[in-house]
């Protein structure tokens, strides 16, 4: 059941949409970007989350009763939470508790994983991302993702970052160069690679490759970046750099990060959600979500406290 907190007309959503192709004439100004033309107006959910309203920023998610099944196996049930804009939200919990699955719901990457069914509502700035009219391809330009292992494309550093913008139709060389530089700066990689943009991405170290992947995600100017254990395959120094990058990014984008590292969650996140699958017979669910400081010092649920203090998981 969807209970929109605040119902507004189409104009209300449109006003909240950022035109991603700034400079390209704004042809689709006033239209929700990921709606296909023919589906215009079909959008069932027009609730704008109270959080997004209050923050005034873009990239706020509101999840209501989200459940996920792999085939007949229900792995995640009844997740309801708000992910505020321009904050870092950490998803923590033991392996197999559905953190990554939940993360992939947000940009509908679960569509790529075969027989996955997602129910409930997930609204991005008030718009249901699972609605029929929503093109996941368009959605993913607004909700970028960084994967667990660095996965640069087998091409040059420049081409890696320019990949997304090219998909969006940016062709002019100087425009691309500007986006590439801006994105690499955003990912704190520019100073290291500015003189070797034509080098193959595989020549970079693991940590640099991961920051390249962050730059690549930034290049489409997303409102949200999802990170699935982005530092778990990296050494401590690279991890530190990624964390610094995240701290800088959160002034402009919403970040949702899955992590196994509780110190990391405590260090970098504003909000923490603790998830748990208590037995294989039952799906995982959200135990509690709240302010990170609160979660790590005085959690409401004894299970959260047990996990955080290392008693299981």
């Amino acid at each position: 059941m969807v209970i929109p907190l605040h119902v507004s007309g189409n104009g209300g959503i449109a006003a909240g949409m950022r035109n991603l192709n700034a400079g390209s004439g704004g042809a689709d100004e006033g239209e929700p970007r990921f709606l296909r033309e023919e589906d215009e107006g079909d959008d069932p959910v027009v609730g704008v989350s109270a959080v997004a309203e209050a923050e005034g920023g873009l990239g706020a998610f509101a999840l209501a009763d989200v459940s996920v099944s792999y085939g007949r196996d229900r792995v995640l049930e009844g997740v309801s939470m708000d992910i505020p804009a321009q904050k870092v939200t950490a998803l923590i919990g033991p392996s197999g508790c559905g953190k990554s699955t939940l993360l992939r719901c947000l940009n509908r990457m679960n569509d790529e994983y075969g027989d996955v069914r997602v129910t409930g509502t997930i609204a991005l700035d008030g718009q249901d991302v699972m609605a029929k009219g929503v093109d996941p391809v368009e959605l993913r330009m607004r909700v970028g993702q960084v994967f667990q292992r660095p996965n640069p494309f087998p091409m040059t550093i420049f081409e890696n970052v320019a990949y997304g913008p090219r998909t969006q139709g940016i062709r002019a060389r100087d425009e691309l160069s500007a986006v590439v530089e801006e994105s690499l700066r955003g990912a704190a990689l520019w100073d290291e690679v500015k003189n070797s943009l034509k080098k193959h991405a595989f020549e970079l170290s693991g940590g640099q490759q991961q920051r390249l992947c962050i730059a690549r995600a930034l290049a489409t100017k997303p409102e949200v970046i999802l990170m699935d254990e982005p530092a778990s395959a990296l050494d401590p120094i690279s991890t530190q750099q990624i964390e610094d990058t995240i701290a800088e990014l959160k002034s402009t984008v919403t970040i949702v990060i899955v992590t196994h590292n509780m110190q990391q969650a405590a260090r970098i996140s504003d909000l923490t959600a603790f998830m748990l699958r208590e037995s294989l017979d039952r799906p995982a669910h959200l135990i509690e979500v709240g302010d990170t400081k609160h979660m790590f010092t005085n959690p409401d649920d004894p299970r959260t406290e047990s996990y955080i203090t290392g008693r299981f998981g």
């Binding site: 993913r140 998909t167 992947c213 995600a217």
Partner: protein, 308 residues
Amino acid sequence: MSEPFSSRRNSPGRTTFRRAAEGVARGLIYTCGWAAIVVLAAIAVFLATNAVRAMREAGLSSMLSGTQWYPTSEPGKFGLLPLVLGSLYVTGVALAVCVPLGVAAAVFISEFADKRLTEVMKSIIEFMTAVPSVVYGLIGVAVLIPFVKDAFGLDSGMTALTGGVVLGVMSLPTVISISEDALHAVPVDLRRGSAALGNTRWQTTVKVTLPAASSGIFAAVMLGLGRAIGETMAVLMLTGNAAIMPTSVFDSVRTMTGTIAAEMGEVVQGGLHYSVLFTVGLVLFAITFAINLAADIVLERQRKRWRR
């Protein structure tokens, strides 16, 4: 045993035995590796010694530049150019058929088909390799020759085009299965990375997956080419075997392989014609060797570029 522990494992006899076994194994593997090279060299030497007479009496350069192939006239004219060109025409048509079809089929199987369809298609493709070339030739004779004759208004349907199309189809399984392997080897992370940047499956395939698999696909095409240029029976049945200089793919051609197969039974052992046929074999050998070498060099360069 009086020694404290592990005396048995460290006993000198056992170490000597293990060293000897290691030596024998290494020797065997070395021998096998070298055997392949020796066999290849032996083939080249065998062809060359049998071709010596032709080179001495007809001359290699005049054979390679000769445009007339009349081996039974007096004196015989042994111009190899019509045969070489015949092979190239047929192979060219075969490539034009099997590269687009084969790569497209591989992309479909690897990137777009669901699991069950993939299994079905793979089995069909494996079955295609099991069909003898004579059978392909028969189908070509019954179906393609009349079709080509009517479709292009030719006097005869036995053309380079006919042979090339059938050869292309015959090379398809090789091209498809090796290209499919190459596409399959591209990490799924790359595809997901591309999808997460808002690319459709098709865009991902064109921009990431195909370039990443390009060296494997190139190898597939080269192997398909090797199959096409060496194939004998189907071309013998389909190309009409007129040893004239072809001017288009609608001409009847005679390939190098077809010539050897058709004429070897009728020549005097050790005679000039016999020796010339060995020269044809030597030329064929040199061409395929050069193609494989070129492919290897390209692949090696690619490998250095992609896998740092």
